[in-house]
Symmetry: C2
Subunit: 549 residues, 2 copies
């Protein structure tokens, strides 16, 4: 069941909505051709190189691009807090009280636009094609139905306290998503993204290993090797005598190799004392990516999740915006820019407003008729949706805690399941839900083509390669999602071939129609991107209204 | 305020009760002289080496010893689950129903003994010298009074939801402490033990740095150096061509150095793009220990804490044991072994029982008159108490979250405060409590000699070196503890000069008196050690009762 030829670049980091992508430094090297991102000027060189890198997204999604940026020394900007929400008092000179705005899509970006505009008294209406709000921020609970485009529909039959974050699942502590949690009164708790007691299983291993053991062995040997090279004088042209002393000190602690600079195993392995495998065997683990993903800026522990399910953010936004402003089961059928407003037709009616914010996935938006500029439609058609899927497996007992002492975290594999997530809530509870796969690209497409029963069977077979026979026992229920098969969404996120052209074009409105979504930021596949984009659009729209009023 | 000459071996890992100690590989190398630990036979060589290492404890406490074990390739045993609690049905043949047992000390070891013996119907009475139960498992809340031996008494005036774990604060996921939480119905949550957004500040730095940045720079450069040595052929005698390829692959991911194997900064730094400091400057960070402590078996994330305060474990034990079995403010004045029982005199009375379990700190126990064997008293006098202290600083706002985006975790310094802990509970709440210092050894003694007001002033000065002026603003209240000054405890934990002799002697009873406590295990300073010791004693005592009945 390994997937060396699955088309997914690597199984390195946990990826997907709220996840980044299976990452790893990109293979392409920049050639320096001129390009620039038209948002926030004065960052020419950096953005030029970024522009070239985003091409990786076509194969690997935003995460691969993001990781490659790191490899090339391009630190992403910290997510800015430099944002002033519109206020009612902004209109005090003009006597106006905001404009009317129709927002397309009640995902996080659309809801955030309504929330921010509402602070200044804008009169917003949100049209949502699906029968529920939240978009990809989807938490499934007992009784929830999950139809796919094909018509196949699952129903969740989980126990009362069990939920399944089918979309985003984690938030880094620097992301503005946490600011929204604070503002909306959504309580948060730690999400365990990395756990040395969880497993890692690569094609270079005979069997799955505890991540702790694989990491200890690898850090131990690389410390030994570098200490040896240092002591042998191989780095004398790079290192002063003082450097060498400091380096050896570091390696002693980092590799747990004492002052003889030899790796002989140790307590970090978490296994009974004994000699570790040979250097060659350890290098054969091939764990560079699986044990390094937690070093990434967007994946480092601690991460966070709302208590009780990710959709607590959606619930908080809806409450702040007002549920009466949202029309569900209202797919948009036509968007017409007029000189003095926008007209939006939808199933069951039409609405006219001063402005429109289109916060739908670009590939969906591109298909909606209307009079948007040809360049706009081209731009919307440019990014390619990325397939991704998850399965929630509800077990009768929490055997991963009771027997294996794994409390949350992620098992990394290069099987087609890619990752197993152990739950970061309900510790020591009676039952619990494991995410049995979280995969992307070709793996996700393969699973997506299966019936739910087949997906489950395949997920259980994959998990059994890590956990053995018990993985197939005690299953209470399960639900799987294939995001590319979700109506009106049709993908986990998108990958741009470049951050030039279309990406840049859509940062500005087409007439009175603005565009919002994670797909218009450098934080694709993260809710933080949706919030950031909403802020950008709200700022632009409000500036324009203030100028015109 | 640096403490290069403070006498504490290093400021590496967060240490202390529930914490291990400022660790790091020990400097002593084993000489192989014969010794053995008399518990659990058949592990001669390992235990011999351990026996020699424990001497480190005198300077560095249990944690230093533990870390040194790792450096020498001595993996500690995983904490065994091989334990069968006594059951009432064990007595079905004899018709007996357990014996009477007087337990000295209502700390975790004493309470756990009563809990385990109670399962088989033993009639236990616990004598506790202090006016509250729990021993070092001490959570302070509004209204709690904290007297020191000197007579100086503080009173906590924290806000309603604020608590301060003055003793143990964290639990590793493999520790049996979690099994007790499960059994007692104590809910747990993640304790953030390591956070790359927190700071590290060593004498090698011009100013405190985010741990993320220091780590990224160091991992980047050591990867570059090792890649260079590999590519230059310096390791050709150690590495095959295949090894070299695998190693370079690993380094590319681990150091985020791409396929040119050059470190040029990157997203992991979490700082605006730009060239990183020079190799020499980065080696000068001296962060081997501060960034490696989280790799240790007992310190690795995720760790856990009971919801609402560590003393939830004590509360759970007391509820299971029965509060009526515990006499507080009852310091023991004499212990008399008799052929058919034990007589214990205490302030206010005396009690006779078939057996006694003495679960007091050894240095306290050694001072109690009675007829214990001379070798026993010598053994009890052997381990030396380790000084340790903490201060809880309650702030009006959670500025570390709101402004600095630090959600839990530990700042590592070599200032005399040693560590700052940010709270792992109450995220986004109104106020919060930071542990302003957690220090050991000479630092703890220096703070212990001060008045509380002086400790606070010094803690605020230390914290300001990390966080600047704001650290001194918005303080609502504070409480400090110096464990060596706590009545009837007089130390954070103990350090044995060796695991031979006295340590071995006390594993067995003296007549009808048994000994229990973390100080009789390899998990000194951890509640898990108290539980383990309680299980050992209960098993021995029950076996004896079954044989005699």
């Amino acid at each position: 069941m390994t997937t060396a030829d699955s088309g997914v670049p690597d199984g390195g980091s946990p990826g997907g909505p709220g996840g980044g992508l299976p990452g790893g430094p990109g293979k392409g090297s920049p050639d320096g051709s001129p390009a620039g991102l038209p948002v926030g000027g004065g960052r020419g060189r950096t953005l030029t190189r970024r522009g070239l890198l985003v091409g990786l997204g076509a194969a690997g999604g935003a995460g691969a691009m993001y990781a490659a940026m790191g490899a090339l020394g391009l630190a992403p900007d910290r997510q800015t807090r430099d944002y002033t929400p519109p206020r009612k008092s902004d209109f005090s000179l003009s006597g106006r009280a905001g404009a009317t705005v129709v927002i397309l899509g009640a995902g996080v970006a659309g809801l955030a636009c309504a929330y921010e505009l509402g602070k200044a008294g804008y009169d917003c209406t949100i049209l949502e094609a699906r029968d529920r709000v939240g978009g990809r921020n989807l938490t499934l609970r007992r009784g929830d139905r999950l139809p796919e485009i094909s018509g196949a529909t699952q129903e969740a039959t989980f126990g009362e306290d069990v939920y399944f974050n089918a979309g985003p699942g984690r938030i880094a502590q620097w992301m503005i998503t946490l600011d929204y949690c604070r503002a909306l009164g959504v309580p948060i708790e730690v999400f365990v993204n990395e756990n040395p007691s969880a497993y890692v299983y690569t094609s270079g291993m005979k069997a799955a290993m505890r991540a702790r053991t694989a990491r200890a062995d690898t850090y131990g040997y690389i410390s030994e090797l570098l200490a040896k090279a240092t002591n042998d004088g191989a780095l004398d042209r790079r290192l002063t005598a003082q450097d060498k002393e400091l380096l050896l000190d570091f390696l002693s602690a980092f590799g747990d190799i004492g002052d003889r600079y030899a790796y002989t195993g140790g307590e970090r392995r978490g296994e009974p004392a004994g000699a570790p495998p040979s250097l060659s065997e350890v290098l054969g683990y091939r764990i560079g990516r699986p044990v390094s993903f937690g070093l990434a800026y967007d994946q480092a522990m601690p991460m966070f999740q709302p208590v009780g399910g990710m959709d607590a953010i959606v619930t908080g936004l809806v409450k702040a915006v007002g549920a009466d402003r949202i029309r569900t089961s209202a797919p948009v059928t036509r968007i017409t820019n007029r000189p003095d407003g926008v007209e939006v037709a939808y199933k069951g009616g039409s609405i006219r407003a001063d402005y429109c914010v289109a916060a739908l996935p670009p590939h969906i938006l591109a298909r909606i008729p209307g009079n948007l500029d040809r360049r706009t439609v081209d731009a919307l058609s440019t990014p390619k949706p990325v397939s991704t899927g998850k399965i929630g497996l509800e077990y009768r007992t929490r055997w991963w805690e009771d027997d294996d002492h794994i409390y949350g975290g992620v098992t990394e594999t290069d099987l087609d399941i890619q990752h197993i997530w152990y739950p970061s809530y309900g510790f020591h509870g009676r039952s619990g839900l494991v995410v049995g796969y979280y995969n992307t690209g070709a793996n996700a497409e393969a699973y997506g083509r299966l019936t739910h029963a087949e997906r489950r069977r395949r997920a259980l077979a994959g998990g059994a390669e890590i956990h053995g026979e018990k993985y197939g026992r005690g299953l209470l229920s399960s639900v799987s999602i294939a995001w590319q098969r979700q109506p009106y969404i049709e993908g986990g996120w998108v990958a741009w071939p470049s951050y030039e052209g279309g990406f840049a074009h859509l940062q500005k409105p087409d007439g009175r129609v603005y565009f919002a979504g994670d797909w218009l930021t450098q934080l694709i596949a993260w809710q933080a991107g949706s919030f950031e984009s909403a802020r950008n659009v709200v700022t632009q729209l409000h500036d324009r209204v203030l100028k015109e009023s």
